[in-house]
């Protein structure tokens, strides 16, 4: 029986390695969430370290989501950074997202920092399974290339944005109870089932952060 356990451990440890052979860069899996009628895809270019993600789906909104997701699992505190560029025209509210998600269920709890097609940044979240999505929309700066950063420290999620090469600026923070481990990744939705939306993610980084010093709020 101990032998069985070793084998199981090996399988678990091997999972991320196997995923690398799928060539998804920093991430381990990619899939459509919510079964949109038009299939999405995620391609990683090892030369440029860019991710080209195509997603369809009604939205990441309401009580259930449809989009394409590229993710890995992470625990504890971490930061995710990426620069997003929409490559296709489409709905004003098509989305490119840095997303933390409980599961790949269509109605899973999540929180993301999102850029809409019209350049509106937002922080949106579903706190409990199948609950409605909450939104905080930030003032619209118009379309462009956005650097986005989302940091999780304990139950606090803090977001930064920087447009067209400008320095990252902190935009605010919220409390979140997604727990650990959590799926961390990039999402793309077209905001319509009849079209796809392709987004290029560059300069993507995932950083595991040390636990904070004790005794703070």
């Amino acid at each position: 029986m101990p032998y069985m356990r070793e084998l199981l451990l090996l399988c678990l440890l091997a999972a991320p390695c196997l995923a690398q052979t799928a060539n998804l860069g920093l991430f381990t899996n990619s899939d459509d969430v919510g079964a949109p009628p038009i299939k999405g895809s995620a391609e990683f270019d090892p030369a440029t370290r860019q991710y080209r993600i195509t997603g369809s789906g009604t939205d990441i909104w309401g009580k259930a989501d449809q989009f394409h997701y590229l993710w890995r699992e992470m625990a504890g505190d971490f930061a995710i950074t990426a620069t997003t560029q929409f490559l296709t025209d489409g709905n004003d509210h098509r989305k490119a997202s840095l997303m933390l998600r409980q599961s790949t269920d269509t109605d899973s709890p999540f929180i993301h920092l999102v850029i809409h097609g019209n350049g509106m940044p937002g922080v949106q979240f579903r706190s409990t399974k199948a609950d409605n999505t909450n939104t905080v929309d930030l003032p619209i700066e118009g379309p462009g290339t956005f650097q986005l950063k989302l940091v999780r420290r304990g139950s606090t999620i803090t977001v930064w944005t920087g447009k067209n090469g400008a320095a990252l600026t902190e935009r605010g923070h919220t409390a979140n109870q997604l727990g650990s481990p959590v799926l961390v990744g990039l999402g793309v939705a077209s905001h319509t089932q009849t079209a796809t939306n392709t987004v290029l993610f560059s300069d993507v980084s995932l950083e595991q952060l040390a636990p904070p010093a004790a005794g703070k709020k």
Binding site: S127, D137, T174
Partner: protein, 216 residues
Amino acid sequence: MLIFRELLIVCVLSAPVFAQSGSLGAFTDSADVGNPARKGSTEFNAATGQYRITGSGANIWEKQDQFQFVWREMSGNFALTATMEFLGKGEDHRKAGIMFRQSLDAASPYGDIVIHGNGMPGLQWRGNQGEITNAFDLPFDGPGKYKIKLVRNGIGITTWIAKDGGELKETARTEVRLQNPVLVGLAVCSHKADASDTVVFSDVSIDQFAPPAAKK
């Protein structure tokens, strides 16, 4: 004529005394929400147009609230603007601001823009009766005198903030489905059951907007 003027001044000066019994300026009512152990109060000074609001209460947070509220009913789309300053010291997370609230129930849905004692601005909302409060806290650089504005446009609630005489800037927007009429007013909470905080609100203005053209 001189005597008449004296009389007028006397009337104006005595307004705060009468405020307790109904003269609340732009508002119609004031009360504690959530029955805090220490009673709050609202005084309107007709001469300066300032509201001096004292509130206690555990917090405006989680599933229910305790605070002092001064309000009027409004329907449709509107905005409330005010400049606020905490008097004295208190908890880092004592709160004061502008609130749009469904009812006086402690667990009522609401949306607000608050400034915390340490200067942190926050957009907060409870989407449904008895639900947990959501919050989006904005970056800040310490306490001060804040001009704040909260706008209702359909289900959208938008916040504007300026610190220490700076230019009022839009900071964030969320969605809260409040039914007409909405209680529109000012809120003060000490974030501590056995403490009270006093906040002075000045330059308070209320705008009623025409219904928006069909959209989205």
